[in-house]
Amino acid sequence: MIWRFVIAFFLLFMLGPILLVVLFSFGSNALIGFPMGGLTLDWYAKLAHDTGFHSAFWASFIVALATAILATITGTCAALALTKAAPKLVRSALAALSLPVLLPPLVVAIAIVVLFVRGLGLGLGLPVVILGHILVAQPFVILIVMARLARFDQATVDAARDLGASHWQAFRLVTLPQIASALIGAALVSAAISLDDFIIASFTIGGGNTISTFVWGKMRTTLDPSINAIATILLVLTVGLSALALRVSKYKG
């Protein structure tokens, strides 16, 4: 009985604050606080006509899509190499590739800026944001794909080779279809990580906005009541992608 309260408390603590933002994004009253006023879609309508939001949305879309594709490729390659490697190599390679996630994103972001601006003399911009996001997303891709490969029956690849398939044919016809759902899951998680990131993006984007940096701009002033709506959109995108990833990768075992 007491555990029910514990569980309810946790769910309330974890989900409550987020749901509050979603709830108030539909309230006619400007900011969070009661009474929330009548139900309205005004704030969303307002965003639909906000060109600043449009460009932020497209920037986020491009960055998330590129991150999803590229991090899934780099991470999957690494996972394929590591599943067959000696345990010692696996541990050190995983530790090295996970380091960017363990350091404060502030340090990573500043380091990237110093390299591009001072070290290389290059400008900042969306390509730099994408590179930073690949760096942070690829360890998660590796974990997801390696978990799938751990349950993978190597005999299926042997069987394909035995039946006349080349290495590449065996990968394309047997390995890939079997791990496809994990790869889609990993790509969705990468996209969620990319959309959710604020710190790396705000340092490396140079000019313009992603949705995160756009939200940040509104949060600092708190005068713009459409903030609940933008926050909700950001939340729906990131949480939605994570939920979808969970569903897709669970779907086939």
């Binding site: 080779r161 006349g164 047997v174």
Partner: protein, 347 residues
């Protein structure tokens, strides 16, 4: 070039080491067309490594593999005229039964008609013609086994390799599949090589048995050879439930520690006499023995006897009143009809 003297498969001096560890000692083996050959041995004896070398998954450290006189030692598995039924089957979970079976032919870019026609044939051979459109995870273990078999057989391999093919099945299903394998081997007249740790399975299926231990082939022969005239102590011990009795040979005469002595030509020195349990019976002027254990197996009774030498002798009786005749603690005298004698090193 093949002649009637060229075996279908010839292994010469084949060996495999992983680092410093010898998995398979250099061995020679010849398998003739039509043979049903069992590689029998305990787990870790190197039998699976041997099979995977024949299939092309493991490159040998030394020696050569020839099929129909052609050296295939350096060929990858996709280029060898062998196909394999894997222990875990290795069925493609993302494909249907028919797609699994037709996989190899589709790779060869055969026409759709040929693929579907031969798939149907192969499925009929393993009696799964109604299951073509099923997904793999909707099949029972025995059915999956048949799909794996059909998927390999459709390639018309010169040699079909089976890695512990029945290990994952329960006892009853295993007996059924043994029958099926015999029927299929008979029907298509191919050459099968399979690996097993189960001697009854080896004897039930094979006409040629190679017994392996610690990377070495201890004996190659027909099942009856291996059973009745084991070449080494290991074979005698591993194949069947035998009793090994210590003794000494002097000038063509063996005296067992347990008492009996008999004529046996050979080198002087310590020997072991191998006694088959079904050859042991009550005998009025035999060796005194005490019944230490009696286990009822349905068709027969297995009795453990302690001899004066403190050795254990196994007796198997299928007489109807056996259970009444052998009770734990009973003192009686036993004898046996004949025994195999093997030289045993000192100690």
């Amino acid at each position: 070039m093949t002649s009637q003297y060229t075996p279908l498969l010839k292994l010469s001096g084949l060996s495999k080491s992983f680092g410093a560890a010898r998995a398979v000692e250099p061995l020679d083996l010849a398998v003739q067309a039509g043979d049903f050959c069992a590689i029998l041995g305990p787990s870790g004896c190197g039998k699976s490594t041997l099979l995977r070398m024949i299939a092309g998954f493991i490159e040998p450290s030394s020696g050569s593999i020839a099929i129909e006189g052609r050296d295939v030692t350096r060929l990858g598995p996709e280029k060898r005229p062998t196909n394999m039924v894997f222990q875990s089957y290795g069925l493609f979970p993302h494909l249907t039964v028919a797609e699994n079976v037709g996989f190899g032919l589709a790779l060869q870019k055969k026409s759709k008609d040929e693929v579907s026609q031969r798939t149907e044939e192969a499925l009929r051979l393993v009696r799964l013609e109604a299951f073509g459109q099923r997904m793999i995870d909707r099949l029972s273990g025995g059915q999956q086994q048949r799909v794996a078999l059909a998927r390999a057989l459709i390639m018309r391999p010169k040699i079909l390799l089976l890695d512990e093919p029945l290990a994952a099945l329960d006892l009853k299903l295993r007996h059924q599949m043994q029958e099926e394998l015999r029927r299929i081997h008979h029907e298509i007249g191919g050459t099968f090589i399979f690996v097993t740790h189960d001697q009854s399975e080896a004897f039930a299926l094979a006409n040629l048995v190679a017994v392996m231990n610690q990377g070495r082939v201890e004996q190659i022969g027909s099942p009856s050879d291996v059973y009745l005239s084991p070449a080494t102590l290991f074979v005698a011990d591993f194949v069947g439930e035998t009793s090994l009795l210590a003794g000494e040979r002097r000038q063509g005469r063996v005296t067992l520690k347990a008492g009996p002595h008999f004529v046996s030509a050979g080198r002087d020195g310590p020997v072991r006499a191998i006694v088959r349990p079904e050859r042991v019976a009550l005998k009025s002027d035999g060796v005194p023995a005490v019944v230490t254990d009696a286990v009822f197996f349905g068709a027969s009774l297995k009795v453990s006897l302690r001899l004066p030498s403190d050795e254990t002798l196994i007796l198997r009786s299928s007489e109807a009143d056996a259970a009444a005749r052998y009770r734990i603690g009973d003192k009686l005298t036993v004898g046996w009809e004949d025994q195999q004698v093997i030289d045993a090193g000192p100690g």
